[in-house]
């Protein structure tokens, strides 16, 4: 742990930029997302997995609507901009016409779990060979921190000011728990980018999901829990801890289904790939 940056507690000194890191498939590191946002990190796991598999020139991303949409201008990947919630169907049509291509969606929780829930369920049940990437921060970040279908009980949002109350607002949806058991789902996992170990595990999950797609095993999904300190109304440095303890409590990380087999208990992805 000594050679990686600790993100599980606030730094003792102010951050100092020592150099710039940019994934191969990124055109720039300049983006408009908030400080402390987990989405650029999540994107990095996706872009690096595409490179790992040598699919940079055989890959199409289908993008939903949310904060991450702003990241599309810096992605060096062929893209289709879909509507809020509709990316899984668009990805389906593209995959059927270009079966040799690696096709992924990038969607937020508002996009996938609210607006487009039936799309992702049907796409999974149909066993479409596409990979859906869900960036779950439990809020509508782009509108300024509103409750979504994955907001956990007790979480404060702009339209649940005293915290999500199950009796009044209903319960959050566990997306991986919902999608993993479906017959067409080959791979389902939930990662988190709240610390370096989480980022590394998430990257392995994305890669394994892509591999399942390229083998033609069926539908694959990786949910990535991302920090949204702006939408959570907490100090930036508390984001990772809040994600781990508040969101991670309900949205349990690990692999839920691999090689078409449901696991008894969510498990870390194997190290050796």
């Amino acid at each position: 742990m000594s050679d990686i940056i600790r993100t599980d507690r606030p730094p003792e000194a102010a951050a100092r930029k020592t150099g710039e890191f940019m994934p191969t498939l990124q055109l720039s590191t300049d983006h408009d997302l908030c400080p402390g946002c987990g989405e650029p990190l999540a994107l990095r796991t996706v872009l690096e997995s595409i490179v790992d598999l040598g699919m940079s020139q055989q890959c199409v991303g289908v993008i939903g609507i949310g904060c991450y949409t702003a990241l599309t201008s810096i992605m060096d990947v062929d893209l289709i901009q879909a509507l809020h919630g509709r990316a899984p169907s668009v990805a389906t049509g593209s995959k059927r016409m270009r079966p040799e291509t690696l096709i992924f969606t990038l969607q937020g929780d508002g996009d996938m779990a609210n607006e487009g829930l039936q799309e992702v369920i049907h796409t999974a049940a149909r066993g479409e060979s596409v990979t859906c990437i869900l960036l779950n921060n439990g809020v509508f970040g782009e509108t300024g921190g509103h409750m979504t279908a994955t907001t956990v009980i007790g979480q404060r949002t702009k339209n649940s000011l005293d915290g999500r109350d199950a009796a009044y607002h209903g319960h959050p949806i566990d997306m991986i728990g919902l999608l993993a058991p479906l017959g067409g789902t080959a791979y389902a996992a939930r990662g988190s980018v709240h610390d370096a170990a989480g980022v590394a595990k998430t990257r392995r999950m994305v890669r394994r999901a892509f591999e399942a797609q390229l083998r033609g095993d069926g539908f694959s999904i990786v949910e990535i829990l991302t920090m949204c300190p702006t939408g959570w109304f907490i100090p930036t440095e508390e984001g990772p801890d809040y994600l781990d303890t508040v969101m991670g409590e309900i949205h349990v990380t690990g692999e839920w289904k691999r090689d078409g087999q449901l696991l008894q208990q969510a498990a870390d992805p194997p190290e050796a790939d």
Binding site: T24, L25, L27, S28, D30, H31, D32, I50, V51, M55, S56, Q57, Q58, C59, V60, V62, T72, S73, I74, M75, D76, V77, D78, L79, I80, Q81, A82, L83, R86, P88, S89, V90, A91, T92, G93, S94, K95, R96, M97, R98, T101, L102, Q118, E119, H122
Partner: protein, 359 residues
Amino acid sequence: MTRRLMEGSEAMAEAAIAAGCRFFAGYPMTPFTELLENFAAKLPTAGGTCINAESELEAVGMAWGACATGARAATGSTGQGLSLMQESLSEITRAELPLVVFNMARGQSDYYQATRGGGHGDYRHLVLAPIDVNEAIHHVQLAFHLADHWRNPVLIYGDYLLGHTAEAVDVVREGFDPLPEKDWAVDGSRGGGGDPRNLNPIGMVPGIKGIDPDSFWKRLQAKHDAMEAAEKRFDQEHLEDAELLVVAFGSMARFARHVVRELRAEGVRVGYFRPITLWPFPSEALAQAAAGVRKVAVLEQNAGQMIDDVRLSVLGAAPVAPIGGISSDSAGFGVGPLLDIETIRGRVENALDGSGARA
């Protein structure tokens, strides 16, 4: 020539496949269902894919993804199902994708939907309204050509009568002017080189931070203006010395044309005008056709929708009167008592009163 007795639904699916359509997605709904059945039966053997989508929302999304890769793709429904698709149809238009959309409508009450659109934003679809199965075979192939030419959705306005009428037809692949290469199509190949493609409806350009919808949408408007100028189509006959002009589209035009021919044979000075493209509406041609008449009668099977465009074309040069109206069967499929030669002849004859059309 190998003419076969074919229902419109079968003929249109065959015409689409002849035009190179390789993807179709739809959700069953009367009277669109048979078109979906025919695509499901015929596309796989033609090397294509037909998905029985779980909803119209998903059908249009799948067709969106298919045509974005450069494949010729189509979707469709009745007007009710198209209501569900409108959000995507707006976005697909603004992403400049060549989708072909079938409305096998329940009558003609989707004219506003077809020509004004039920979606958001400034967008336009070319709309072709075939009069019979034979013309539908041509229109379907033309629709794929025009969609690729303009990089814009094209809507085929059909109905129960068109879909379920069997006519002796021959589906022959038509030739059109050569089209530019689809260098915009997303096949995944441009990643990693610093110049990827991004098919989007908001003016996002890879490598450039932020968006520029203002100039993007203005460019789109200019394209739609060019489409409007270039693609007006119409049919007309018996205009010489006409005192009454009957205007109708699609299936109703077939009845109108028959009645006008009957009356002309009896020496009645009545003319016929049919917009083939509902958008762009052939306004100038209609104005010219109506220039010498005393009255314009609009026959449409709805509460009065196309009549707005007729009035905007004639601009008060002659009185414009509706002679159609709502007419439905008990199931609401648009097969009502108005679909009858004697009924329509009676309405045209009523409109003749005071027109001076009878010698």
